[in-house]
Amino acid sequence: MKIRNFLITLFIATFSIPTLADIAIVVHPNNPLANLTKEDAAKIFLSKTKTFPNGKEVSIIDLEEGDEIRNAFYEKVTNKSASQVKAYWSRLIFTGKGQPPKVAIDSDEVISAISNNENAIGYIDTDDINENVKVIFKVP
């Protein structure tokens, strides 16, 4: 009996896949942008596209370097590892053609930054979504 329980636990433990956070890109509820393709999302967060379709300048809210959600976000949306994202931004910074986005510590800060700025865009764990933000893209 004991051994059977032990084996079942072992079995479950071996085959449990840890669930990774689901991430969504969010904007202010008044932002006319309704949805985004992965390519457009990548262009916005890499500052290749600087304005929304309505012409307003995008204000990107990023998470801190080293944050698991940040790493997963860039891997899935832009195909770049943390090192590659750093290399990409250093090209822009040191050619004077861009500054990396503002940084937030956690979802709360992201949501608060977005609530204060209709042109802000950020990404958060789907568990933290509330009525202060609108989801426009779910990271696959």
């Binding site: 600087k50 590892s81 090192s83 750093k86 250093s90 910074i93 004077g96």
Partner: protein, 452 residues
Amino acid sequence: MNKALIKVVPLLLFCGAWVPYNATAITEAQMQADIERLEKKLEKIEKKSRKRDRSIQSKLNKYFNKLKFNGFGSAGLTTSDVDAEHVTQISNRKNYQADAVIGLQATFMVNDKTDAVLQIVGRGIERNNAEAEWAYISHSFTPNFTVRAGRLRLPSYNISEILEVGFAYPWARPIPEIYNQAPFTSYYGVDFFYNTNFMGLDFQIQGMNGTDTATLGETTINVETMYGLYFTLSKGDLSLRFGALSVSAGMDLGDLLTGVPDITTIPTDFLAQVLPADAVALLDDLRTNPARASDLATFNEDATSFGDFNAIEVDFYSLGLSYDNGTWVIESEAAELKQKGLLQGNATHYISLGRRFNNWMPFAVYAKQYTDSDTLFGKIVGPLIGTIGNGAGFDPYEHATYTAGLRYDIQPGVAIKVQLDHLTKFDNTRGNFNSVPGDDAQIFSVTIDSVF
């Protein structure tokens, strides 16, 4: 009499006993009031001081939020196996300087459209003058149109503006065939860049105009004017860049030309003592063969005017391709340097292929460079004059470089590279060394690059 006194004394005593008590009470109440008044005053002062602190704090915060610092640094050890000095100043002495660099950039956001930027770079080798690499004001009239003025970097080729940010490119150093062609890397002037999207393609135009002073060995070059225009088209993982830069400069050749005689007057057999055999044969043919009379006239003209040589007019044309899909990294450029004058023009191209395996990226590069405006003057007299620093010279040269290397990203912001270059196919010319290195040359480097 005594009876009266006896009645009065206790009364006196009684009154007397009261007196000190009342005096204390009055003083205490007064003290209490005073204390309360002082406490209120203190509170007011504290409040004011706190308010002032907060306002200073918020002003400081405002300024600190507006001021951003970024930096980059590289260190490395490199050496070659030949005496001749490479255009990057690498030779067979162990060299810790060729790749040593530290850069600091401060960006002050004057307002949300205007930045003031200062970048100071310290280098192990002196490229030209060790000054601020750039210091400029930039203003974005729209999110897609920016104008900058001040001291800026020349955007001649793909990575010209980030020449020293080793972390941002795969190799130990920017491909020397392309990036060491000219001593100019910065200028004083203005530039603009404009981004747009057209038929699904991202498009950037960058234009510049400026002047500079550069040093080539002992020679000072005063660039009177340079202007350039560059176009970059990108879609997804691929980007294509092409453009041109035109430079007009005066040169102070210093001591370079002292002692170079007017060789039109010197007999061939005399020159045979100092010139290589094929140059002597060429000169002999020019002077003795009547069919080459006009060539001889051109040669003599160049030789005599060489004493007054002090002007450079060069056009730099470039074409570049970049592809990065996360796994495969392809970089390729082709450039043409056209001189109007006695200095050699050249053509150069490279192709680099890298593949990422997590944080590892092995890469291989093939590069080729050769002169393509051979003048008779250059062929005959060129090797005698040698180079005027930085590999620029009057003689024909060619070579090819095969490179293999490995880059490892230790952590985001730090990368180590190991690289071996095999330079060959010199065809008895000096290639991109300052003298003929032999049949082949190897350059080995280990570098560490970071951004912070």
